[in-house]
């Protein structure tokens, strides 16, 4: 029974592919956060008197709060289905590094939530009155911020996995961790809208992204492993 063993990268890629295929077969699940994001950005101008100057000031807050909430919304699904049908156990038993496999799942989450939101965000900001030149800055900020949010969220999702309907707990746990991302993300966005140099805040966002990319997968893997007991 001496068989070739697939590399960890191959295994992780397979999970990524499979999850993307599943998402393609069930578009409702990942369209929901997007729809929510769209509704929020539409709602803001409606809920306020449409005064361009004021709206523009609100744009950073609206964007980042809805980004955070939208990724929280999707996080609840991150591992839950795999836990329910026993797939998560099979990951453990595959003999592949668990961290890598879970990172693939987080990557899917980001591809389906963070990336579309980052692409859509500048559009929403412009509709809220931001100048078109601000778009690249906003895009980069959302891109970097959403990576960190997905990674932080993966820890929370892992911790609340054993908990039925852990949604509230999930947000309670992730929120404090996400605060710096939110603050600097909103600051970068505000600077970009004002036409100022946002690179300081963007570097900070990038640093947070790198930091969480190295640490969060470990914590998430530990959390999920515990939930399987």
């Amino acid at each position: 029974m001496n068989v070739m063993r697939n590399s960890a990268a191959a295994a992780a890629t397979a999970i990524l592919q499979r999850d993307l295929l599943l998402a393609y077969r069930r578009p409702g699940e990942w369209l929901q956060p997007l729809a929510f994001f769209a509704i929020v950005t539409v709602l803001f101008p409606l809920a306020l008197d449409p005064e361009a100057a004021r709206l523009r000031q609100l744009a950073p807050a609206a964007l980042w709060v809805s980004l955070l909430l939208a990724s929280l919304l999707a996080l609840d699904f991150l591992y839950r289905e795999d836990a329910r049908d026993g797939t998560l156990e099979q990951y453990v038993l595959s003999g592949q590094p668990f961290t890598a496999l879970l990172l693939a799942k987080t990557a899917t989450h980001w591809l389906l939530t963070g990336l579309p939101l980052a692409l859509f965000g500048p559009l929403a900001a412009i509709s809220l009155g931001a100048p078109p030149q601000a778009a690249p800055g906003i895009f980069v900020a959302l891109l970097l911020g959403s990576v960190t949010l997905s990674l932080l969220g993966s820890i929370g999702a892992g911790l609340t996995l054993g908990v039925r309907r852990g949604g509230a707990l999930l947000s309670l746990l992730v929120l404090p961790l996400a605060m710096p991302v939110l603050v600097f993300g909103a600051r970068a966005t505000a600077l970009a809208i004002a036409g100022d140099d946002a690179s300081g805040a963007l570097y900070l966002l990038a640093a947070m992204g790198v930091l969480s990319l190295t640490l969060a997968p470990l914590a998430a893997a530990a959390a999920v492993r515990i939930s399987l007991e």
Partner: protein, 208 residues
Amino acid sequence: MLEVSNLHLWRGDRHLLRGVNFTLFSGQVLQLLWPNGTGKTTLLRAIAGFLHAEEGELRWQGRRIDADRDAFHWDVAYLGHETALKGDLTAFENLRYACAMRSPVTAERLRVTLVDVGLAHSDPAQPVRSFSAGQQRRVALARLSLWNAKLWLLDEPAANLDSAGQQLLASLLLAHVRRGGMAILATHHAIALPDADCRQWQLPQEVV
């Protein structure tokens, strides 16, 4: 070789298993026929490493399994009450991704295996969700036979299977044992395995 010595397992405040001891050699099958709620599933999950045993020792090929979990897990295949199939994928896709996590398998081999477990006639684009309970089990059996694991841990593998399916299971087990594999099954109807070194364990208190 799997050695289980003096294993104690708790569920909540219940001291469920008080000192389990047995050794399983290459080519052997152990059938757990214990009554409901006496800890078959618990024992299998503990061996698979999902439950931490505070007391007792598990050794695989002479080494403690917590010494190198990944190496042990590579040798183990577990099939529980849940089939670990994705309802939105076809049987073929399910097998493909499940195998990609372990070792490379050709598409041809996947197709042959699906035919072997009696799923030849189904629509290849049919998602597993719409399979009948027994058909889903068969997909899980196909996956099991593709994984090349040395130790099979099967929790009620015969559930939902018709008599042809049960024969299929028996023949998979026989082939596995002939290749030098070993298996622990939890079941309520003992599976007949002629010519195999197969022990039946009726009650947890018994010594095997």
